[in-house]
Each structure stands twice: as C-alpha cells, then as structure tokens.
C-alpha cells in the first residue's frame, strides 16, 4: 500500500512489477487452451481469437476470486462465467467464451449505495494486497486500474447494480493512451516499452470486465471450491448448477419471446450452449427448480427460429469456436432438446 507514487522511474518499475502479477503470460493462456476440450481442431485464426478471449476470461476469474475473498458468503456467484470456466471443463465439455460475471447478494440489499460503499472498501483492500495497477499519466500522477467502478451507462434496472473493472489486455478495448488521455509522447513511448516487455504487445489496451450484482437473492446457494480453466481456485458460494440451468430454461430457452424473438436469438443460443450441462447434472433437481414443468413447445419454437435465422450468430462468433469443434448447431439443438424432453418426460 503506497500513499505516494514517486518519480516516473519508480512508477514505471511498479507498473512492470504489478503487470507480472496482474496479466496472464501468453504461455499460460496457451497452456489453458491446451487443456480445454475442443482446442485440438482450431485453425490458426480461431486459435488466436480464442486465446484473446481467454485473456479476458482470466481477468473475469481473477475478479471472481478477489470478490469471493472480500465478500465471503455475502455474494453468490452464478451465470455464464461459472458454468463455462468451471463446470464445462470439469465435464470435458468445451466452454463458450463469456466476459461478464453475475452475482447476487445472499441477503436482500435495500439500496445500491450500500454496494457502492462496499466497492470502495473492496478497492482499498485489493490495493493493499497489490492487486491494483497504477499507470503513470504524467506530472507525477497515476491512474488506478483494476478497481471496481459503477457502470452508470448500463444501469437500467433498480434491482441490478452494474459494475466494471478496467483491465489491461493485449488486443481488446481502447489503446491505453487514449483511454487514459495521455498526450505526452515520451511517456507513451516509455509505457509502450513496459507493456512490450511485460505483455509482448506495446500497444496495450484497456477493456472492462463487467459484473452484474442482483440486490435480491437469486435462490439457494452452496459453498463450493471452484477450480477454473486456468488452474486457479476460489472458495465461493455459488447458485447450484441445477438452479442455474433451470433459470436458463425458464427465462431464455423456453420463454415465449413473442415478436421480440429475433432480438433474443443470441440469448437462446447462449442458453442452448450452456444447457449441454443437463447431461451432467441431476435432472430431477432441475425439474424441481422448474416447478415440475417445462414449456417444451416454446423451447422447440425458439430453437427452430435459431436454426432458421440465427445461424450466423453461431458460425461467425468466436465465443463459440471451441463448442463448434465438437458440435454442429443441429447436434447441439438435438442434444439439448433431447435432454429437455427427458426432463418433461415427453
């Protein structure tokens, strides 16, 4: 924990030192990819895309670990990141790439301001642990990255607090000097040299890890040891996977979107990809969470629309690159619908 940043040399040294901790090495990303099912058949372009995505996924899981350490049992995690970076690899299923983190408060929280105050405490704590990144911007000043901030532009719902964490990446986001408004070319050159040395990319970028926190409890929670695709571990309360899958069925795959279906096909596709896990969990528990019934007709209608109109979402998006290596869209649809029929006894 430092109260003053010191001179430029000192600041650059600190940046160099912190980047070693706060950015994954390219070889670590390649190793993680090597462990993932679906990685073996990737072409060169797709492989680079997936590595690029995994760098952001590494940050997502790092943020999850830090949040779980700070909030202990007060914050319950769930959603795509946990399903794809923890459970999918456990069951030898290729993950889809996702870059946001969903969580909910274990106890109801009356107002978002309480969480904003907790975000300040969280930032102070991770700063004391050396988990923030001070980037020199000139005149002895430094901007702190890797801290949690409120995402006002994405605040649409009274019960959902959108947060974000700016992180340094190799290829995604805005160039660091533009993001930080640095105009001093000599400083930019110095920073490029540091980024080049630490990341292998001089024109480092800054992107956001997004976190959505629901103020209301999302349902049951179980304390679990989460081992992610990068080999890191976190002990955190998680919404049981069966409950998460049931939510995906109810609110995404088997939801009657009416005329808005075209605008929701990407959500249907995400749910379809995640619901592969139905083959690896206790189906009875999923059915319990669904109240004993599944709207199979709505699910079939949504999947049919996806096959007819949403093929591009599937074939062009590198988020599904690993899943595509194992399944065609038809196979994926058949597999998930089959599991749903099994659930509903149809």
């Amino acid at each position: 924990m430092r109260a003053r940043w010191g001179g430029l040399e000192e600041q650059l040294e600190l940046l160099r030192e912190r980047l070693r901790l706060l950015a994954p090495s390219w070889s670590a990303l390649e190793e993680a990819l090597g462990r993932l099912p679906g990685a073996e058949g990737l072409g060169r372009g797709e492989r680079l895309d997936v590595l690029r995505g995994l760098e952001r996924a590494w940050h997502v899981m790092r943020v999850l670990r830090l949040l779980s350490e700070h909030f202990a049992v007060e914050l319950v995690f769930g959603g795509g990141a946990v399903l794809n970076y923890v459970y999918m690899p456990q069951h030898r299923e290729p993950p889809r790439l996702t870059f946001d983190l969903d969580a909910s408060c274990a106890q109801p929280v009356g107002s978002k301001r309480l969480l904003l105050a907790e975000a300040v405490r969280f930032n102070r704590r991770i700063d004391a642990l050396g988990q923030t990144l001070p980037v020199p911007v000139g005149r002895g000043s430094a901007a702190l990255l890797y801290v949690v901030e409120y995402d006002a532009e994405k605040d649409f719902f009274p019960e959902l607090l959108p947060l974000r964490v700016p992180v340094v990446t190799r290829y995604d986001g805005e160039p660091f000097h533009r993001f930080l408004g640095i105009r001093d070319y000599r400083l930019i050159a110095e920073l490029r040299a540091v980024f080049g040395e630490a990341l292998g990319v001089e024109e480092a970028r800054i992107d956001y890890v997004r976190i959505d926190i629901s103020l209301a409890p999302a349902g049951p929670a179980e304390l679990e040891e989460l081992a992610d695709v990068f080999g890191a571990r976190a002990r955190a309360p998680v919404t049981p996977v069966e409950h998460q899958l049931a939510s995906k069925i109810r609110w995404k795959l088997a939801r009657d979107f009416g005329e808005a279906l075209s605008y929701n096909l990407h959500d249907v596709l995400k749910a379809l990809a995640d619901l592969r896990l139905l083959h690896h969990v206790d189906a009875r528990r999923v059915l319990e969470h669904l109240g004993g019934r599944v709207d199979l007709r709505a699910a079939e209608g949504n999947v049919r629309a996806l096959l007819e109109r949403g093929r591009e979402l599937w074939s062009r998006n590198y988020h599904y690159a690993l899943v595509r290596r194992r399944y065609t869209l038809e196979e994926l649809a058949a597999r998930v619908l089959g599991a749903l029929r099994g659930l509903s006894g149809g």
């Binding site: 109260a3 107002s111 904003l116 300040v120 911007v137």
Partner: protein, 252 residues
C-alpha cells in the same frame, strides 16, 4: 492621507501593538504582495521617527510611548470596516486568514466562517459568533490579503485543506466536485491534516467508484480512505454525485 502601502504596514503594526505581539515584516510583503524594498524603507522611516522598534530578526513592533500610542490610535481610526469587521479592526492580516474557497456564493453561505489564526494569538482574541477559529502555526500556509474583501483569505487549495481538516459541516466535497479540474488536489492533500486527508481521500475513492473516471492523482487516495468517513458521509456523497433525482430513479 497614507498611501496604500503605508496604511497596511501601519495597520499591521498598530493592531499587533494592541495585541502585544510583534509583526514579521516578511509576512507583510508576502500577504499584501508589496514591494519589499519599499516596505523596509517605510519601516526604517518609522524606526527613525521613534515610533517603531525591532523586536528580533525581521520583527517590528510599536514602541511603548505616549506618542506611539497616539499614532497607533490614529492608524486604527483609518480602518474601513466591512463584512469581517472584528478581524479588520483587531487582528493583523499577517496573523490570520479566512478559509473560504472562491465562488462559494454559488453554494450559499456557511453558517460559520473558518478563521485560521496564528497560535501566537491564542487567548488574546474574542471573535464574535459566526466564526470557527482554529489556532495553528501559519508557517508554510498560503494566504493573501484580498483588497476586495478587506480581509486575509487563503488560496483555494489552502482553504479547501483547512475546511476538510477543521470544519466537518462545510460542504467541501461539493466545492471539490464542482472544481475538480481546477484544483491542485496534491497540494490540498499536502496541506490537510490527517483527518482532512482522510476526508479528501475517501471522497475521491467514492468518486472513482461512482463516476468510473480514472481520476489520476499524485497520491494514492485508495490507500488513505477511511471507513468511518465513508459511513458518515455516504448519503451526502450519493446526493452530490447523483443529483437531479438520479439516485432515486436508479435506487442508489
């Protein structure tokens, strides 16, 4: 009729005489932004007249004599009283300043003004209601005589540092938010007490979270922010940053 320079030098000497303290000539030059050669020449002339004597290195005081007494009386009769009448009449401007940021009228007027007074005057003043007086060493502080106000006022950074440090009721955060780009916050931090620095850092740490702006500073406000201040002032911070009903609309 005395020139402006002669009037202010004489007033410092006369007011200090009544309070029983000497006047540092260097401070007169700095606080009133005067030509030092002319100041020392005038002090030399007063010394030659037998009205003033040296009281140490760079220190001058009015001689204890009937003639000097009458001179001091005459000088004090020249005071033009304004808003801060007590200070204008009684306290030499080299020994106090008012900590009030400029353009404060946009925010309304504080119930009590903060006056920082040299600790040499502790026990010698009886300021009227409406002033919160803090006695402290004035060494290293930045203030100037305001010819418009007729009183000594702190530089914006000094004023903010003092208000954050000594006046929990003053809306310093509001001023800070409205003038974020204009203020040298590193200087405010340097000039604030430990309590003031905690208040400044806590607000900046909250702003960092609430606005999502990187807010670069030469000091690490996260490391200095204080949980107690955050708890006490959270409501104030939210209503400041999320004005115009935004806090209610977004359930903040």
């Amino acid at each position: 009729m005395l020139s402006r320079l002669r009037l202010v030098v004489s007033l410092q000497l006369a007011k200090a005489y009544r309070l029983g303290v000497p006047v540092p000539a260097g401070r007169i030059v700095r606080v009133f932004n005067l030509n030092s050669r002319l100041v020392y020449r005038y002090l030399g002339a007063l010394e030659g007249e037998g009205l003033v004597e040296r009281a140490g290195r760079g220190l001058y005081r009015v001689r204890a004599s009937g003639r000097a007494d009458a001179w001091a009386e005459y000088v004090l009769s020249q005071v033009r009283e304004g808003v801060h009448a007590y200070f204008q009449r009684v306290v030499p401007e080299v020994y106090y300043y008012l900590a009030e940021p400029p353009s404060i009228e946009w925010l309304g007027f504080a119930e009590r003004r903060l006056a920082v007074v040299d600790e040499a005057l502790r026990g010698r003043l009886s300021p009227p209601r409406g002033y919160r007086v803090v006695y402290a060493s004035l060494r290293g502080r930045r203030w100037r005589y305001s010819w418009d106000l007729g009183a000594a006022v702190a530089s914006p950074e000094q004023a903010l540092a003092d208000l954050l440090s000594h006046d929990p009721g003053f809306p310093a955060e509001q001023y800070l938010l409205l003038n974020l780009g204009r203020l040298d916050l590193a200087e405010v931090a340097r000039r604030a007490t430990r309590r003031g620095l905690a208040r400044l850092s806590t607000f900046l740490a909250f702003l960092r979270v609430a606005t999502g702006r990187p807010l670069p500073q030469p000091f690490n406000y996260l490391a200095l922010c204080d949980d107690r201040v955050l708890e006490e002032r959270l409501g104030e911070y939210v209503s400041l940053v999320f004005g115009n009903g935004a806090a209610e609309r977004r359930n903040l």
